[in-house]
């Protein structure tokens, strides 16, 4: 873990922040939630790249990124009294396997059947990992997310 690597992480996180806000605008998110949505996206990408750097496994990286980002999204959702998907969908955008779907189709079209198969299976595994990560955090009781706001009602 050299300083260059850490610097690269910082840059990538900042880029993911901007990217998430850009997609929050495309999804017509209310303006006052832009920064929080961006933070969720940046956080998920940071978890993802750090995990990939140490283990090289993208499926579990996506799983832990989904856990972290859903936690943060729920905290924001309670704190800012906005529905969860406002933060979740924008924040999930960086880790979601959109590129995987495209590469799978592209390889099928280009007759690279072996690569198409491996990309396709990886895409499905990532999608399941993210869905499980979200599902676990969403089913936690709400006091995990409102610890510092005791007595507040949503």
């Amino acid at each position: 873990m050299t300083p260059e690597v850490v610097f690269d992480w910082a840059i990538q996180t900042a880029v993911a922040f901007v990217a998430t806000i850009a997609f929050a605008i495309i999804f017509h998110t209310p303006r006052e939630q832009y920064v929080c949505a961006g933070l969720v996206g940046a956080f998920s990408w940071l978890i993802y790249i750090i995990y990939v750097y140490f283990t090289g496994d993208v499926v579990f990286a996506s799983f832990f990124a989904a856990l972290g980002l859903t936690y943060l999204a729920r905290v924001f959702s309670f704190a800012r009294k906005a529905p969860l998907p406002v933060f979740l969908i924008a924040g999930i955008f960086p880790v979601v396997p959109g590129a995987g779907i495209y590469y799978t189709g592209y390889h099928i079209f280009m007759n690279n059947n072996v690569e198409a198969m491996s990309k396709g299976v990886e895409t499905i595994k990532i999608a399941i990992a993210i869905a499980l990560g979200i599902g676990i955090v969403v089913s936690l009781p709400r006091f995990f997310f409102t610890l510092r706001r005791k007595g507040s009602t949503t």
Binding site: Q12, V15, A16, V18, A19, A22, F23, A24, I25, I26, F27, H28, T29, P30, Q33, W45, K81, A82, P83, P85, V86, I89, I92, F93, P94, V96, P97, G98, A99, G100, I101, Y102, Y103, T104, G105, Y106, H107, I108, F109, M110, N112, E115, T123, A127, I128, I130, A131, L132, I134, G135
Partner: protein, 261 residues
Amino acid sequence: MTEERSESAAGLSFKMGEALLRNGAEIFRVQETMERVARAYDIEEYDVYVLSNAIFANAVENGEKIDTKLKFVPGSTVHFGRIVGINQLSREIVAGKVSVEEAYARLHEIVSIPYTHPIRLDLACAVGSACFSYLFGGTVFDAAAAFICGFVLQVFLNAIDSRTASKFIINLASSAVVAVCAVLLFTVGLGDSLDKIIIGSIIRLVPGVALTTSIRDFLNGDYLSGTIRIIDAFLVGGCIAIGVGAVVMTYISLTGGAPLL
């Protein structure tokens, strides 16, 4: 009061559910909101079944049976501003602060919250494309090319009327537009890797969130909604791959270059 059906509480709950689904809320949120509103206005019997592209609901209000079936186009535009508004409204209804007439007026206001200005959408798509091109391992020059491609893509998407053209034709055409744009920029000399430019700019179209949502539907036990969404995601993904693939294939055979991936 029952003779004026559009003023009934059951009708209000249907309308809120419809608006939520149209603007991209999740299945269980639609269902929960509709049931909560119905309970808040003391509707006796209320059953609702929500799919990713339809709502089936019926209610008994003041002894009169109201049957409603609503159908939708799947994958309509996501508008979080409206979802937030309806969410807020349903909370106030549950708290007993809003009468049915007021709620109708509020709902009408929420549903007419405008879409973001097209120019801002163009810029957002351009910035998003550039960022993703960089995140997927592209250089700064790739990101610059993806910026232009993303801008062109959103201009194209704004220009076509999504109600007349089929969704698959739209995806096919717009991914081809992106690929042509990327190939042109690449030939001129902007960008180091055609692949990174294209993947960055195509991320706006690719159904990654839809695929993840479909798996979530499966985990929630909404098998039908999950199936609809996953088929949708694969078809859209296939269309994009064909749109890009056709252009790239032509480019390769014209220039005689090596495959790019």
